[in-house]
């Protein structure tokens, strides 16, 4: 009887969890907490997206035209950066890509083997899942390495500006004024966001990226 009750409670808890945890999807906003304050990031509207795009284009043009003292380009397009990385530092992005591809092929084989196991093959399932996790970790390291090498390209810096601008406009803080809850913009303008060196700026950027799934 005790066991039955426990089991029933577990089922009820699980059902309750299903119903009570829809905050990720219930609307197009994502709530989060930094220290003791509550914030939310909402989806940008058309006007904000257009402004962000405009800013991205201007940044792109600005970086494209910037020169060093000797007249050479201060920033490089991704294609040229890849070439320079290989020539001057021996970092081969194409090789990283092919290593990623190879790992993905291995991953595919492991997944296919895993799919053809029955529930009773407990040990084999666990072993394959461990191998899959190891391959995924290796792939992630390569992907992060590549992203790090290419972060300074003109395209990536312009895209960075795009996301930062949207973050500066879409993050709101919850405040209670005369027992009435209101949501207010955290940064009045983009320049305020740029000056903000607290964790909030970075966490908010991560949250917006997550909300838009623009990873």
């Amino acid at each position: 009887m005790v066991n039955e009750n426990n089991q029933m409670q577990e089922v009820l808890d699980e059902l309750q969890n299903d119903i009570l945890n829809p905050e990720l999807i219930q609307d197009n906003k994502l709530h989060f907490r930094v220290e003791s304050k509550i914030y939310r990031v909402r989806m940008p509207n058309q006007k904000e997206l257009s402004e962000a795009n405009d800013r991205k284009n201007r940044k792109y043009m600005e970086l494209l035209q910037k020169k060093n003292l000797d007249g050479s380009s201060a920033y490089l397009m991704e294609k040229n950066l890849i070439k320079l990385l290989k020539e001057s530092q021996g970092i081969d992005i194409a090789l990283i890509d092919s290593e990623v591809k190879e790992l993905e092929n291995k991953l595919m084989d492991k997944y296919l083997s895993l799919a053809q196991l029955k529930d009773t093959d407990v040990t084999a399932i666990e072993n394959l899942k461990k191998e899959i996790s190891e391959i995924k970790d290796k792939r992630l390291i390569l992907i992060l390495d590549k992203a790090g090498y290419l972060a300074i390209s003109i395209q990536n810096q312009a895209q960075d500006d795009y996301m930062k601008f949207l973050t500066s406009t879409c993050v709101e803080e919850y405040m209670e004024v005369e027992e009435k809850g209101t949501w207010n913009k955290v940064w009045k303008k983009f320049e305020d966001y740029e000056k903000d060196d607290t964790n909030l700026a970075y966490i908010s950027l991560g949250r917006l990226t997550e909300l838009m799934l623009n990873v």
């Binding site: 059902l15 299903d18 119903i19 945890n21 829809p22 990720l24 999807i25 219930q26 609307d27 197009n28 906003k29 994502l30 989806m43 509207n45 595919m108 492991k110 997944y111 296919l112 083997s113 895993l114 799919a115 053809q116 196991l117 029955k118 529930d119 399932i125 899942k129 899959i132 997550e210 909300l211 838009m212 799934l213 623009n214």
Partner: protein, 132 residues
Amino acid sequence: MYKYESTDDKLRKLARSSYWQNLYRSSKECSNIQLFENTNNLSGIQVRFLYFLAVYSMLFDELARHEDEFLSVNVIEDVERCDGYLIYRNKKQDHLWKKYRREEKLSEHKSRHPKSHKDGKAQLIEVDLRRE
């Protein structure tokens, strides 16, 4: 050991829950059932959630019809096994589609050239001339 639960893991857990599966099914039958508070400007997360709702709905349907020996509730509830099953399922469907197309071509050939198939000796052979 603490296991980090990614956004995708959370979305999948919600999407395969009976509550959301029932709601999803009902919303397909009855257009005035709304899944989210907002009706437009869906977030990336919401779009992904809709994708998972559809995937799990399909898997639960196939499970009910006992379509594949490797599909079980445990497979659906385990992210890695579920991903593996979806890859395997795609390959299987691809294979079945190719087989169907081959049979279709053969029957087309038979109806055009009935004489060549009369003694059962004629065969349709596909040759891949692409370079290795």
